[in-house]
Every structure is written in C-alpha cells, then in structure tokens.
C-alpha cells in the first residue's frame, strides 16, 4: 500500500502543458484548492471542486498515477468513514474524505509535475534563502539513494541470518535496530561526504550567486493564475452568501 501511495508524489519528466507551467502556478493551485476544501463541508460543493481538478489531471497525463494514489489511500478512507461515523455523522465523514482527496490530488499534481530543482528555484523566487531552498531540493535528490541503501542494509543483515518478522510488537521494534543503526550511520557519513564535496565546489563562496536555469511566468501561467483567483473569489462569495445557491447543493445524508 505505502509504495503505491508514494508514486503519486514522484516527479517524472514529461512534456505536457501542466509540466511546462511555472512551479509557482502549480503551488498556487494546490494552495487555493486546499483552502477551498477546508472552507466547505457540503458534499456536492466539495465534489464539484474535486471535479474541477480533473481537467488539470488529464492535461498532465497523470490519471494513472492519480488512481494509484487514491487506491493507496483506500484503506485509510475506510477507517476514516468508520471512525467518523461513530463519533459524528456519515455525511461529515464523506465530506472529510472528499476534502482529503482534493488536497492530496492537488498537491500530488504539484509534486508530479515540478522538477525538484525548479522547486528550489520557485522557493528562491519567494525569497527563501538559498541555503534552505538548496537543502530542500537536496533531500529530494537523495530520497531514492537512501531507499536503495536501506534495501542493501536489509539484504546484508538477512544474509547473516537476521529474520524480520519475529515475535510480538516490542520485539519487532527491537528487531529494527540492526536496520536503523547502519542506516543512520551511513546517512551521517553520506552527509559528511556531501558537505565536503560541496565545499570543494565553492558552495557558499559568494552572496551573488548566479543561476543557469530560471523559471518564468508565461501567458499560460497568467491565464491559469487569473482563473484560479476568480475561482477562489467565487468560492468566498458563495461561502459568505449561501443564499446565492440552490437548496439541493446543501443536501446531506440523513445519518
């Protein structure tokens, strides 16, 4: 379950309209959709908001990945429905699920279509200091490396007779020590090596750093930004003046 879910956030290089948009546009999209999702709890309204994400998902050719992420969360959704229905209403559970789907989908859209280095550039354009933005993108870069190393550690320990699923909860936790300690040690060593390599490549040598790649807003970005802002304003108006909408939009489950 967990691996499928992670796939929904892993960047893959493609040439679609969505991929070519400036990362800030996509960040704006994720943020606006998340705010709208939090603002409302009416099922039909939330569902409508959710549906408006689909043009973006299809334009980015991301449907398959998106389905995987939703599948990955299916179990979580079931748990949520059960618990929430017990403590509140079924209606509210469904609302919560749709809310989560909106937020996950919109952020997934962001991470699937934004190159990690462009992510760094967009953070910098938002006046985040270079060091912090760089650390951010460096973490992304090394996630697959650490994952591979974790697998190598498991392989090495299993080869000397280490068995993973043994005994009760507490002993299973203790059982993770032969995996965690080498992982931590290797990660720390790696951090050292990366740091000395960075030093050796003049990292931090001047405050006036130049950039080879840049990100820039195009007409398409402005268009989408304007659409998003209108959408957002519309949402606020509807929230403040619910009388503007027909009654059936406010329907809830009886439970």
């Amino acid at each position: 379950m967990s691996f499928e879910f992670m796939q929904a956030f892993k960047f893959i290089q493609m040439k679609t309209i969505i991929h070519n948009l400036d990362p800030r546009t996509k960040l704006l999209l994720a943020i606006i959709y998340s705010i709208l999702a939090i603002m409302f709890e009416e099922i039909f309204i939330l569902f409508f908001i959710f549906l408006t994400l689909f043009p973006f998902i299809f334009a980015g050719q991301l449907f398959k990945k998106w389905i995987k992420s939703i599948r990955g969360m299916a179990f979580l959704f079931l748990l949520l429905i059960i618990f929430n229905t017990l403590f509140s209403t079924f209606s509210k559970s469904i609302s919560m699920i749709i809310r989560i789907m909106i937020m996950v989908s919109s952020f997934s859209l962001f991470f699937l279509t934004v190159h990690p280095d462009d992510l760094m550039l967009s953070l910098i354009s938002l006046k985040v200091p270079y060091n912090i933005a760089f650390s951010f993108s460096l973490s992304f870069r090394f996630v697959p490396t650490i994952a591979i190393e974790a697998q190598n550690i498991i392989d090495a320990q299993k080869s000397r007779g280490y068995e993973m699923e043994q005994g009760g909860l507490i002993s299973q936790a203790k059982n993770l020590i032969p995996l965690l300690i080498p992982l931590i040690v290797c990660s720390m060593k790696r951090a050292f090596h990366i740091a000395e390599a960075l030093d050796s490549r003049a990292f931090g040598s001047t405050k006036n750093r130049t950039y080879y790649y840049s990100i820039s807003y195009t007409k398409k970005d402005w268009l989408i930004t304007v659409i998003l802002i209108i959408f957002f304003i519309f949402g606020i108006i509807v929230k403040v003046f619910p009388v503007l909408l027909p009654d059936w939009l406010f329907w809830r489950f009886p439970v």
């Binding site: 190598n152 090495a156 007779g161 280490y162 068995e163 020590i177 300690i181 080498p182």
Partner: protein, 291 residues
C-alpha cells in the same frame, strides 16, 4: 576434481529475474556449479552479477526458472534455511555493523543457528581468534579501521560456516596485505571443501586465484570456462568491459614475437622462470654479460 552430478551444488535453470520497476536483470541463466569449486563472476556493472548471487541465498526469488542449492529449490524453501548454506559477504561493511561490541556482532550472526550457550561462546571466541579480532572484542565496531571492519564483516559470515561462500568485490580498495588476506582465506576455505564464488572486477586477482570464470553481460552468461582462456579472448573481453591481465598480454606478445612459451606462462612464477632462462640464453648468445 571430477564434475559428477552428485557433486552438483548449485543448479540454475532458465533463470530470469524482473525487478518491480520493470528492469529485466536476468534474461535466462543456465549454470552448474560443483561442490568445492572456486568460480569467478565478472562483467560490467548492471550485467546482473549481484542479482544472480542474491538468488542463491533467497534474497531474490526467481521470476521464472529454478535455482537449486543442493536439493533445495529456492522458491520452495525458507530463506533462513538457505542462509545456513550460502553466506554472502557484501562489499561495504558499514551496511551491517550496528552492535555495541565486536563480540556482539558475531553473536548476532549466530543468533538463529540453535547453538547451546557453551557452543555459542566457543564459536564466538574461535571466530574472533581466527580473524585476529580478539583484541577488539569489547570495542564498538565503529572505532575499527576500514580493513578491520572488512575483516569483521567477513568474520560475521564465516562464523556461520556456510558450505557456499560468496564474496562481492572483496579486493576493491585493498592494498597488497588486504589482497593477501583474501587470497589466503579463499585457499583455506577451499581446502576445507567449501564452494567459493567471487564477484569481481579484479582481473589480476582472478587470473592468479580463480580457476573458472563466468562472464556476464546484459543479464546473460556470455562465457563460462577456465579463467585464463576467457581473459585472453579480446572479443569477449570487450563485451564484458574487461581487459587482459598484464601477463596474458605479455605471453601473447611473446608468442606473436615467435618465441615458444609454456602454456601457463601467464602465472607469475612461471613467467619469472621462463624469462629468466630466456634472458640467460640470450646473454650466453651475445656473450655480452647482463642487460
């Protein structure tokens, strides 16, 4: 040593392996390894060498095909049973060291082997003595030097006394003493009748210490035979991203120059002997003294 069917220890039949992301690492491997052999596996990075050895101890299960370790087929047997027979020493000791003391590292390796308390302590002591780690017994493994860590990693597999020992690149980054240690270890285990498999890039080490070599490329075995033959065929070497050892190049050169040489002149001692008598001959002919 005779290669009889009853001595067959590892039998691989039409083995393929697909990684979850779709890469096909092994595309149909057929292989027989007999008890007591020393076999090298060579080839470019990505040829499938590591994938192949991981099927021997059950780390990876075949996608299609079978792998028999003695009478056990790896698909049908628990990994815990396979790791008793097959010990893989991986390249990087940092991937496995974690315990409070060196002694505890060995103890951890012996954990699931059902030793009695006295047998366990005995085995730990023996292992520490054998690998010259006794003086580090109560030290934490993280304070050991690179070479000492490597010895500890090897010891933590050898203490389990597996019948089949697999080394993954044992001579990388080693100086002469380190290589000598590996050489002696292989000799010793071989004399105990163990089967030894060595994945390596080290052609000089291979030509001296490994009688049989399997060359892999692109998920397939492209050559399997005596090491000296394989390391002297330029076409095969090219595909396998290897070069000939120095003395093989030299022996070919001697042959090309019209000089008759004994078959195994590529071995260092033999080359020394041959060149020695060759030079002496030339000295006598030219009557001019030494060169």
């Amino acid at each position: 040593m005779e290669k009889k069917l009853e001595n067959l220890q590892i039998l691989v039949n039409h083995l393929t392996y697909h990684y979850p992301d779709g890469t096909i690492a092994l595309k149909g491997i057929n292989l027989n390894i007999y008890s007591g052999e020393i076999v090298g596996i060579m080839g470019k990075n990505g040829a499938g060498k590591s994938t192949l050895i991981k099927t021997f101890n059950g780390l990876l299960k075949p996608t299609t095909g079978t792998v028999y370790i003695e009478n056990d087929e790896v698909n049908n047997v628990l990994m815990s049973k396979l790791t008793r027979k097959v010990g893989i020493v991986f390249q990087n000791p940092d991937l496995q060291l974690f315990a409070n003391t060196v002694e505890d590292e060995i103890r951890f390796s012996l954990k699931n082997l059902n030793f009695t308390k006295t047998e366990l302590e005995n085995q730990i002591n023996l292992t520490l003595e054998k690998f010259k780690l006794k003086k580090f017994q109560n030290r934490t493994p993280f304070t050991l030097s690179g070479g000492e860590k490597k010895r500890l990693a090897i010891a933590s597999i050898m203490c389990r006394n597996p019948e089949i020992i697999v080394f993954d690149e044992p001579t990388i980054g080693q100086d002469a003493e380190g290589v000598e240690f590996i050489r002696n270890l292989i000799k010793e285990k071989h004399s105990e009748g163990k089967t030894i498999i060595i994945v390596t890039h080290d052609i000089e080490f291979a030509i001296d210490n490994i009688p049989r070599t399997i060359l892999m490329a692109d998920g397939l075995i492209i050559a399997d035979g005596p090491t000296n033959k394989i390391l002297s065929q330029d076409q095969i070497l090219n595909i396998g991203s290897l070069i000939s050892p120095q003395l093989i190049i030299l022996s070919k050169f001697l042959i090309d120059s019209g000089i008759k040489v004994p078959d195994d002149v590529y071995l260092k001692e033999n080359m020394i002997q041959f060149l020695g008598s060759f030079f002496k001959e030339k000295m006598e002919i030219s009557e001019g003294g030494k060169f």
